[in-house]
Amino acid sequence: MNSSQLFGIATLAYLLSSALYTALLIFKNKKIGYYAITVTILGFLIQTAALGLRWYESYQQGIGHAPLTNMYESLVFFSWATILFYIILEFKVKNRVIGAFVVPIAFVAMAYASLAKGMSQQIEPLNPALQSNWLIAHVITCFIGYSAFAVAAGLGVMYLLKKSAINKNLPPDTLTGSLPDLLFIDHLTHRTIVFGFLWLSAGIISGAVWANEAWGTYWSWDPKETWSIITWFIYASTLHARFTRGWRGSRIAWLAIIGFLAVFFTYFGVNYLLSGLHSYGSQ
């Protein structure tokens, strides 16, 4: 058994759990929800083992390093962090239907990582610039933030669906009937954005410190840096709009989605469309 096979099993588990959560949404059967979280936790444990194994495998190849160094590994870690965030959230808020809006994101990340053209799944040695303890701090902080923002966007979508159902006066036994009430989703979206914002800030800061250690410049307006600060500005606006101008509900839901689009571009778009220091995804 090698790490790729385990990642494959985890991907399938997330596919199954996405289906189960969707089924829960439709049939509102408590048992399905129980199966869904069980499969999610199993998938998560397998993925965790796979991450550990991949780390171990890199040592066997004599180039030992944490599995956080290229596009493939970052997608796997993003999916892992999103699931971890979601599992904790589910136990904290005791609501399972949210899974239908979050687990699919983790599944898509894993599926894309394993199927995308030109995605190297090899364990590669680290180039001199990446050989730093800041690598782990930087990647982990950024991706905790990214995963929180992914969850927030999922919650935003959920809010808008529920809202439009209410506006259309749909009877409560339709799909959206099982969604939690608007105030609750709104509150949760906000808390999730707040959490993500703290970690995004930590991610940008750790990146700046690292850049200063490696090149003597903590900020060089490299496209990745710039897009990360654009994302930061968007979420900072969202928080101010809520705290001081009382924005609630649909507006925050939309901002959660727009913010995640910026995260997505920072993460993906910059690597594929723009040039710069973070070229790990462009080869």
Partner: protein
Amino acid sequence: MSTQNKNAFWSLFSSVKLALFLLFTLATTSIIGTIVPQNNPPEFYIKLYGANLARFMQTLGVPDMYNSWWFIGLLILFSLNLIVCSLERIPNVWRLVTQDNLKTNPDKLEKMGQREIIPLPGTSMGEAVAKTTSYFARQGWKVAKRDKDGGTLFFAQKGAWTRFGVYLVHSSILIILAGAIIGSPTVARKFFRAPNFAFKGSVMLPEGRATNFIYSSQNGREIPLGFTVRCDHFDIEYYSNGMPKDYRAKLTVLDHGKVVLQRDIEVNKPLRYKGITFYQASYQPYPSFIVQLTNKKTGVEKKDIIPAREQIVWKKGGARFGIINMQTRGQIVERIKVWFTDNQGEPSEFWIEPNREAVIKRPSGEFLFKAKQLYATGLQVSKDPGVWLVYLGCALMLVGLTVAFFMSHRKIWAFVSEKEGQITVLFAGSANKNKLGFEKTFTAFIDKIKGFAS
């Protein structure tokens, strides 16, 4: 700030609307510089965008947009907004933090989000007051009390100072910007007229050479270091797949002619001396070699830098030699062909890899030969006297965000009163943030008291 001296400027800059506008404008304009390549020569833009658009871009400073007048202007407006906004609000917060909560009208307690009445049957007023005091104290709340009409009011609070968290975040941004200004080479050059105060530069330093100046990255001018740095050695280590694993330069710092520091630097492991940092950034191989020769019979040694394809006469060693051919990958030499004679018999010719020692058997005895390709280390050199402020600001920001988002100002009141011979305590509480979290805190607080009371 009192209301009298509020003017249009003040009310504009104290508004959150402006903050939102600036955040939005900074976010959207920042995109330009990620699409239009930055800091290229003018011809580049003419070729890419045509003469007219290129001229328009130059006027707006787009080729170096993050240093353009309007972007810096936005940042200045943003800073002013932060300062005025915070100054405007801090006095109110100060009042909230220091206000006398025992002045609260006990009637108000009944309207607070969290409240609970606990009857204390069979106690006197004095006993009830003592009990209530202990209910707070036993749960770690420092309580104050005051006699009111019809009873005694108690008050305790936690985390009042957390109301300042958001201003800690705001000041952290200002501290970071201040650090950026102090460390800016442009500011040092144009405003302080002291290019030595803060700079970014680079230098190519061949092995065996020393320098006491570097070249500014901004204008290529020489910037004196105030000491000397020498490159003693440079090499590249490769992984088995040919990818570079490590660039390593051995540097020596000489101050007033004395060796004060000797260290290997690598990418991610710079050397610092007197506020100046040297980063291993690039390298340059030369078609020259550092040759080490030993005449084993006489023990005479020679170490020298020689160019390729040149005959070198080594008088003391009684020999002549040269590197007459090379196999290269790019500029990196993988094998060299050595020509060597002790002036007796046929000259020796052989291929050898750099850094390998060869034993040359000659009629006059054995010679040891070793050659290393000559490299220069490309050093990035920077002096940033503002970086500690930037780091301080970053640390404060993380602390401030944690305080502002995850900690709250929690207040609990209690009112002991007697109604129709029955003594009761009314507990009530509120928090400025995370109401759900406070609900739990309050419920736990009351549950404990019920435990004490029963």
